[in-house]
């Protein structure tokens, strides 16, 4: 505890506060721009932190991380384009609110949910550091596979209008995820003899195509002067806070727990956190039909989960040297470069640095609330810009973002083709089901591959894949998620007739 207070005092030094503020502004901008992610921003900044004090460097990286994950919601809400993969479920309710002229309501909700979720994750990090670290490695590849299957059941939530098409789109997403090198033995697949295909279809350019490009086409087709009517609603903060305090406590708590838990699992990532949190929010709500039409609860679920993920992802990174998210991997690289080895001894040997970092995450979230408030006034002005300027600007930014991932022309081609595909064929279901397949497919495939290898050694697929306590729980949950609604519907229909 003493170390934590010392860390807090270091984090509150004016120099650190200035750096954090800079990091937060940069993070929000980067998060908002489609294609530029917190992972990229931190990776580019790591070399600069070599010349800083280790704690100072970490404070800066942590601030960018928190703000970057939050920033993704801005473009998701205002433009229907997720700024980061983890905010793609935010589009589902954020954008409908914008279309209704309530953009500021959605933006404030996402800011509050992000900050509160972020703080929740850090508090869990402080309180349950050691036991959760142990738990994170107990989650084997078989469990990852079933977690992905459970995540795939969210398809029913994401496609209410045309379920058959939604399932097909999801399957196509899964299929696209298998292009490239096999995760198990490194052999190329579905490359059709075209060499660059070996690198596979990267997630970010694909998401940019499906969301950003398709949205640009949509805006051009709709041919309206503005994206949505912009109204500054009076007393919006009070009404949002009031609504969240009255109606969203359970959603917030559940989503933050889901987000933190998914963060603890190495390699799962923020996108899965927000998908599962959104799905659960809808499942347990008394009025699931309002989701997708601009439900505040939907934004709360998605945004609190992805920011809570940060605290969770720090747990295996700091205690075991296993990064729970791509940004955590970058930050870990920064630690190593300073000669600090994450792991069991980190809190003992470099406790000052570690606790400064943890405390700075708390401070960053509070700064995010203040800076985010002012930035929000600025970003909402996007709606005052005519579509004629927005569409080309998004097109240029998307192209830069997709290309800069790997400097690969293939990514641009993939972005364009998927954008056209989503525009022509997915206008009624939206790109979310296909994105679901793309996000979960590669993780599920790798997990299944590893599990089957282990099954070969143990001589039993059942034992390696199915007959494990957590696996069984996830299987039952998946079956209930699919069969439950159908059964319930039958039962209720009988009651009516």
């Amino acid at each position: 505890m003493g170390l934590l207070i010392d860390g807090l005092l270091v984090a509150l030094q004016p120099y650190h506060l200035v750096l954090m503020s800079f990091g937060i502004i940069a993070g929000i901008v980067i998060g908002t721009l489609p294609g530029l992610t917190a992972t990229m921003a931190t990776a580019l900044l790591v070399p600069f932190t070599f010349h800083m004090d280790p704690a100072t460097g970490l404070v800066l990286l942590g601030a960018i991380w928190c703000a970057g994950v939050y920033g993704g919601a801005n473009s998701a809400i205002l433009l229907n384009i997720p700024g980061t993969p983890s905010s793609f479920t935010t589009t589902l309710d954020g954008y409908p609110l914008t279309r209704k002229g309530q953009a500021d309501r959605a933006l404030f909700t996402s800011l509050f949910a992000s900050v509160l979720g972020g703080i929740f994750g850090v508090l869990i990090l402080i309180l349950l550091f050691a036991p959760l670290a142990k738990l994170s490695v107990k989650f084997g590849k078989a469990e990852y596979f079933w977690l992905c299957v459970f995540g795939l059941t969210a398809i029913s939530t994401l496609t209410t209008k045309n379920p058959v098409k939604g399932i097909l789109a999801c399957a196509l997403g899964l299929l696209i995820g298998t292009i490239g090198l096999s995760p198990i033995d490194g052999t190329p697949r579905f490359t059709f003899g075209y060499r660059p295909m070996v690198q596979g279809i990267a997630l970010i350019p694909a998401l940019i195509g499906m969301f950003a490009l398709a949205q640009v086409f949509q805006l051009i087709k709709r041919d309206e002067r503005y994206i949505a009517e912009y109204r500054q609603n009076s007393g919006v903060i009070r009404s949002v806070v009031g609504y969240m305090a009255a109606k969203c406590k359970v959603v917030f708590l559940r989503s933050s727990i889901i987000g933190t838990f998914i963060g603890i699992l190495p390699g799962a990532g923020g996108a899965i956190a927000s998908i599962i949190a959104y799905n659960e929010a809808k499942r347990w709500d008394k009025h699931p039909e309002k989701y997708g039409t601009g439900a505040i609860e939907g934004i709360v679920a998605s945004e609190s989960a992805n920011n809570a993920m940060i605290g969770g992802a720090c747990i295996p990174m700091m205690s075991l040297g296993i990064p729970g998210a791509p940004v955590a991997a970058v930050i870990m690289g920064g630690l190593l470069a300073h000669g600090i080895t994450p792991g069991a001894k980190l809190l003992v040997e470099s406790g000052d640095v570690a606790y400064t970092f943890i405390a700075s995450l708390l401070v960053s979230n509070i700064l995010l609330l203040i800076i985010g408030y002012f930035m929000l006034k600025l970003t909402s002005n996007i709606l005052r810009i005519p579509t004629a300027f927005i569409a080309p600007a998004v097109l240029v930014l998307s192209t830069i973002g997709a290309f800069s991932m790997r400097n690969s022309m293939l990514d641009l081609v993939a972005m364009l083709l998927l954008g056209l595909f989503a525009f022509y064929f997915l206008s009624d279901t939206g790109p979310a089901p296909m994105a679901l397949g793309l996000v979960l497919g590669p993780i599920a495939e790798e997990a299944l591959g590893v599990t089957l290898q282990i099954a070969r050694a143990k001589g039993s697929v059942m034992q390696a894949l199915v007959l494990r306590p957590v696996s069984l729980i996830l299987i039952v949950m998946s079956i209930l998620a699919i069969v439950g609604p159908i059964v319930l519907q039958r039962v209720f229909r009988k009651e009516v007739t």
Binding site: A43, K141, L181, G267, G321, A337, A344, R406, E446, A457
Partner: protein, 321 residues
């Protein structure tokens, strides 16, 4: 007016032709006349990028020029190296790379190149795996692991941190040398595999030294898969001390397209060597957890020649079921 504009544009478009011509006439002694482009076939901020940037800090002193960084990530480095293979052999484009990865990639077909397509400049650093078992494992030393593997062939699992990497060679050597049969489990990254070891999901693993150090108290270190012991864990024997010729380092190397003109390969090798010998570089590299280990051009070519048949053999044995 329009015609004049067209003419100006035409002239502007022809400019690159002239500049290209003047470059060709550059005389040999002056290499390098401009900065050398280095392809980093991974993301910015990764290990290859970090060490290359460290080298770049000192290279200007010895080469007279700096490096321009180009990132071409994808397919475990194969994308960037494929691009190098297509580049002009003028020593103005080189790449950072890893052995044995590029040898394996050329054999598996994930890279559009062959190891013969390159002139190897040097090796600046190595990293190597430690053979580990989970803390609660009954196998606390190599002998007991081998005994158990002999008793029930195929039933023990050994994790590798990635497909087609150095540990495939180490795994193959170990199976051959100890005359045992285990099942290899390919993870998609070192941290994934580390989680599997800590959670006792697998029986043993080849875990990279840096990642192992983070959790040194939470697993049993059985043997070092390198020719020398590691100074951070001096009590852990090497495989060869225990009687098995298993050594599978990852070499951080620099290479160029084959057939560099004149002395350029030598100039590059000398410059890298001087960086390697600079004590302040060595200190910075050690601080960033790189294990400095030099191999010059000739030594490296011989190393690759020795590696290729082994790589081919183990790919055939373990990846074509």
């Amino acid at each position: 007016m329009k015609k004049l504009l067209m003419l100006l544009i035409a002239i502007a478009l022809m400019m690159p032709v002239f500049t290209e011509g003047s470059q060709e006439t550059g005389t040999e002694e002056q290499y390098p006349e401009e900065n050398v482009t280095v392809i980093v076939p991974y993301n910015a901020g990764g290990g290859s990028d970090t060490i290359t940037r460290l080298i770049d800090n000192y290279l200007e002193e010895y080469l007279g020029k700096n490096l321009n960084f180009v990132y071409r990530a994808g397919a475990g480095g194969a994308v960037g190296i494929s691009e190098l293979a297509k580049s002009k052999a003028d020593a103005y484009t080189i790449a950072a790379s890893n052995l044995p990865h590029i040898a394996l990639q050329s054999l598996l077909g994930s890279g559009d190149f062959d190891t013969d397509d390159f002139d190897f400049i040097c090796q600046m650093a190595v990293t190597y795996p430690i053979f580990v078992t989970p803390k609660n494992s009954p196998y606390k030393d190599l002998a007991s692991f081998i005994a158990a593997a002999k008793k029930s062939p195929g039933s023990l699992t050994i994790g590798l941190p990635g497909a087609a990497g150095n540990t495939l060679i180490g795994f193959g050597q170990f199976m051959d040398e100890a005359d045992i049969d285990c099942t290899l489990i390919n993870y998609s990254g070192g941290s994934d595999m580390l989680a599997a070891v800590l959670g006792s999901q697998i029986d043993a693993a080849f875990s990279a030294i840096n990642m192992t150090m983070s959790n040194i108290d939470d697993m049993n270190l059985l043997a070092v898969a390198f020719t020398e012991r590691d100074e951070k864990i001096p009590d852990v024997p090497t495989f060869s001390e225990l009687g098995f010729k298993v050594s599978c380092p990852t070499s951080r190397i620099y290479l160029a397209p084959a057939g560099l003109p004149g002395e350029r390969l030598q100039i590059l090798e000398d410059a890298f060597r001087k960086v390697y010998d600079n004590p302040s570089y060595a200190e910075a590299a050690a601080k960033a957890a790189f294990i400095s280990n030099w191999m010059g051009h000739d030594e490296l070519e011989a190393f690759v020649d020795d590696l290729r048949p082994q790589a081919a053999k183990y790919i055939e044995k373990y990846y074509s079921k």
